[in-house]
């Protein structure tokens, strides 16, 4: 039995220990916001937070996160950084096809939770592992700065 805490809710699951966390989230917990992109931690579409750390769920065996706190895109709005990032993303009209954006948003929120005033270099270092084929990168950069501003003003855009 694997015990997971996802978005504040406890789940006891009878599943193989090697199944990647991504598929447990998508298929067992029916949270489809976390996306499959590459299966080898090359694109970041599957990014979730494990105890606050941005983690590629496609290469994370579910047994390795048993008992840890997992946040997915569906639960991100509960955090200050998460809300700021989602607001900023909409304000900058970041998404295009949108498929990678759950991962982008999760990665950005994790960055801002640790570093509330990231420089462009910090953003490059944190977000270059998240691919976007629509090329929304320029807006992602702007939106991270905007989110930092929102957080600095106590959540107001």
């Amino acid at each position: 039995m694997i015990h997971l805490e996802v978005n504040g809710k406890r789940h006891d699951l009878d599943i193989g220990p090697d199944v990647p966390l991504l598929w447990v989230i998508r298929e067992y917990l029916k949270l489809s916001g976390t996306k499959y992109g590459c299966g080898m931690a090359q694109c970041g579409a599957c990014t979730v937070h494990v105890d606050g750390e941005p983690t590629r769920s496609c290469v994370t065996p579910v047994s390795s996160v048993s008992g840890k706190k997992i946040t997915t895109i569906e639960g991100l709005g509960a955090s200050r950084a998460g809300r700021a990032v989602q607001k900023a993303w909409t304000a900058e009209d970041v998404p295009q096809c949108g498929y990678c954006q759950s991962g982008q948003v999760m990665q950005a929120a994790a960055l801002l939770a640790k570093n509330p005033g990231p420089t462009d270099t910090d953003i490059d270092a944190s977000l270059s592992g998240n691919l976007c084929r629509c090329g929304t990168y320029q807006r992602i950069r702007k939106a991270v700065h905007r989110a930092a501003g929102i957080m600095a003003k106590g959540g107001k855009p």
Binding site: G16, V19, P20, W23, R26, E27, Y28, K30, L31, S32, G33, T34, K35, Y36, G37, C38, G39, M40, Q42, C43, A45, T72, I73, E74, L76, G77, V85, Q86, W89, T90, A91, D93, V94, P95, Q96, C97, G98, Y99, C100, Q101, S102, V105, I123, D124, A125, L127, S128, G129, N130, L131, C132, R133, C134, G135, T136, Y137, Q138, R139, I140, R141
Partner: protein, 720 residues
């Protein structure tokens, strides 16, 4: 929810079908022809098919084009809302079912592609909105028993001169029964309140909170997930199969054959993939196993030295070349490219004896529906397609062969269970339907003043439409227009021109890839013009201007981009500018790239200034976003991406060996939009073609090395 059109929506589905008379395969990718075709067969005006107004005043726009990032779930509703006098905050969007009433106004089938969505709906959706507005006004007038001339509509409310008001939601039911007005007067563009204003995307909120539903997110009760073993060589067939180990994997429920391979069905993706990888398959011997990129290069290079089918000829290029003062003979090449959409291909099918429901991100609804019906043994009307959000399209989800949809229907049919087929990234990368590999040979001649005298351009590459139902319409006199677009319509003033084409048949499936033929022709043409300018010892920008005197829209964007980029200004050491201009899909784009090259030959693009003239436009925010997107997409192909074959097998598999642009490589992009009253042009693709030549022309300025093959290889440009 009650609606203007709730009940009659079923009626229109019948009516629409009757009026349109089924599928018309009249596809024209050539813009002016398309516009003519559209004018000749004006589709019936059925406002009820496109608008549903709820009693809560929400206005649902049923959008017949697929949203794949290009913004049509915002720009197309803007067209309706403008004439409907709707309250923009009440607009919702729903994807259209498949029905002739939703056919593309120029192509006679339901589809999204060719950067056509906005211009092809520009008139129809405004008329739809205006007709619905008039029906709402008529309904309010009837309710009040007043003359409708005393009524007007504003922000979702009908207002009478007496001051009486009725919200759209209050009169929607009655409006649905009103006759569709025969005469519709559209607004003067000067009075637009929504069209032309920067408008935020309607789909952003659900794309940042995980709620947006893509094809891969579809779910049906009792469904199994399938992963398919495809042949390692294109066209391969199973000779023998041992599925014992696959069936032993926990969660695997079934193994079935499909024409495209062997499917393993399981309770979830991981079991299905593990099972698929455990299949023991012996594939047949296949002539495609001899294919290699190096072999194809030799074949193409030899073909490029022989005359092909002539796409354009003016003057006597051979004679002019023979007596020219200066002559240049060069060869350019670009590789196969995968679309590599972020969402790997997938399709969910629920097949029953008398119906087939499909959930899929597709650009080709009519084609996919008909293919599914054929496989299922059903009538097309018995097949229902739910168009989900597309996690990228770029042309891959518009396949005349319906590969990923057909295969899923085959699997559902064989397994007798609802099924979601998911392609792994590796399956997607190796699954073919690439942008063709191209090889171009150009001979050009200059006169004593440095002006071009002759231009002989031979293009070698596979036809995208050969062997598809589109061949009859799109191939004329041996020329697939998508192979020569952007080259045969070379705009520069050159007296002697020949452009010819070889279309070798190769066993690698090919397909349109964002900007199609232009993705290679602009690289060749705009690089070569740059080469000629340098040969002539002239400034590349001024040289182009001199040769484009008869093309004001090219000139307009060229000048705008050059001015905004500060063409000719002093730059930091180690930086240079490159320029390119190209027309495609009815729009004109010029770009100036600011570039540096490291001593090891790594190219870095710092900034791209982009000027675009797409005629009258709907949402300037979309235009900016699409230019940024196209530049990133084009830069991936310029700097990184390449599909190669050896022994018939694709050598790349995932994003570690098929590299695409990452955030740290994204240049600053500045977009300038020309305002005019020209016909609306496309916007999803035209930003791609100029990027590669603009960057490579800058690389030449810096290094003196001319990039003639993509992606740019450090060894080709490093300082020795």
């Amino acid at each position: 929810m009650k609606g203007i059109v709730n009940i009659s929506r079923r009626d229109f589905l019948k009516t629409g079908a009757a009026i349109s008379g089924g599928l018309i395969l009249g596809l024209h990718l050539n813009l002016p022809e398309s516009v003519n075709a559209a004018a000749q067969q004006t589709p019936p005006l059925v406002p009820n098919a496109f608008i549903r107004i709820g009693s809560d005043d929400t206005v649902t726009i049923i959008v017949n084009h697929s949203e794949m990032g290009q913004g049509v779930y915002t720009s197309l509703p803007m067209l309706v809302a403008e004439e409907l006098e709707a309250d923009w905050t009440k607009i919702r969007v729903e994807s259209a079912p498949v029905d002739p009433v939703y056919n593309h106004t120029a192509f006679g089938m339901q589809m999204t592609g060719g950067s056509t969505s906005v211009w092809s709906e520009y008139d129809r959706l405004r008329k739809v909105g205006a007709a619905a507005r008039e029906m709402l006004i008529a309904a309010a007038a009837e309710t009040w028993k007043v003359n409708k001339k005393g009524c007007r509509a504003e922000k979702g409310v009908v207002i009478h001169t007496s001051g009486k008001k009725l919200r759209y939601g209050q009169v929607a039911d009655k409006a649905a029964a009103m006759p569709v007005p025969a005469e519709i007067k559209l607004k003067d563009p000067g009075k637009y309140k929504i069209i032309g204003r920067p408008t935020r995307r309607l789909d952003s909120p659900e794309k940042v909170n995980g709620r947006a539903m893509f094809g891969i997110d579809a779910s049906v009760a009792g469904m199994l997930t399938a992963v398919i073993a495809h042949p390692p060589v294109f066209g391969g067939k199973v000779r023998s199969l041992n599925a014992d180990k696959a069936r032993a994997v926990a969660g695997v429920k079934d193994v079935v054959h499909a024409p495209s391979g062997v499917a393993v069905l399981a309770t979830g993706f991981w079991s299905a993939r593990t099972g698929r990888d455990a299949l023991e398959i012996v594939w047949d011997e296949n002539p495609n196993a001899k294919l290699s990129t190096s072999g194809m290069r030799e074949q193409y290079a030899a073909l490029a030295r022989t005359p092909g089918a002539v796409a354009r000829k003016e003057g006597d290029p051979e004679a002019a070349l023979a007596k020219a003062a200066k002559r240049l003979s060069v060869e350019y090449e670009v590789p196969y490219l995968a679309h590599a959409t972020m969402e790997p291909l997938n399709c969910t099918v629920d097949l029953k004896p008398d119906s087939c429901e499909i959930w899929v991100g597709t650009q080709f609804q009519t084609v996919d529906r008909n293919a599914a019906a054929g496989i299922a043994g059903l009538k097309p009307e018995q097949v229902r397609i739910h168009t989900m959000y597309l996690g990228g399209g770029f042309g891959r989800r518009a396949n005349p062969a319906s590969d990923f949809v057909s295969e899923a229907v085959h699997v559902a049919k064989a397994a007798r269970v609802p099924v979601k087929v998911i392609w792994t990234r590796e399956d997607d990368m190796r699954g073919g339907y690439y942008r063709p590999m191209w090889y171009d040979r150009i001979e050009a001649a200059l006169d004593e003043k440095g002006d071009p005298l002759a231009w002989k351009h031979t293009i070698v590459g596979q036809s995208i439409v050969a062997g598809t139902p589109f061949e009859k319409v799109l191939v004329k006199n041996g020329i697939d227009n998508t192979s020569v677009e952007g080259a045969a319509d070379l705009p520069y003033a050159i007296p002697n021109v020949i452009v010819d084409l070889h279309s070798p048949a190769i066993g690698v499936p090919v397909l349109w890839w964002r900007s199609v033929g232009h993705s290679h022709t602009a690289f060749v043409v705009e690089s070569l013009i740059d080469e000629l300018a340098h040969e002539a010892k002239k400034d590349p920008y001024e040289y182009r201007r001199g040769l484009l005197a008869k093309h004001p829209r090219h000139l307009g964007v060229l000048r705008l981009a050059a001015e905004k980029a500060g063409w000719g200004k002093a730059l930091p050491p180690g930086r240079a500018l490159g320029i390119a201009v190209h027309e495609s899909f009815g729009s004109y784009v010029a770009q100036v790239a600011e570039v540096s090259v490291s001593p090891m030959g790594e190219v870095r693009v710092h900034k791209v200034v982009c000027a675009v003239d797409c005629g009258m436009f709907v949402n300037p925010e979309t235009i900016k976003a699409q230019m940024e997107s196209a530049i990133a997409f084009g830069l991936s192909a310029t700097l990184h991406s390449e599909i190669t074959l050896e022994g018939g097998q694709v050598q790349q598999s995932n994003f570690h060996d098929y590299k695409v642009l990452r955030l740290n490589e994204m240049p600053e992009v500045e977009v300038h939009i020309v305002r005019n009253t020209e016909k609306p042009g496309g916007i999803g693709e035209p930003g791609v073609p100029p990027v590669a030549p603009a960057v490579c022309n800058a690389v030449f300025m810096l290094t003196g090395k001319r990039v003639r093959r993509l992606p740019v290889r450090p060894e080709d440009v490093k300082q020795t």
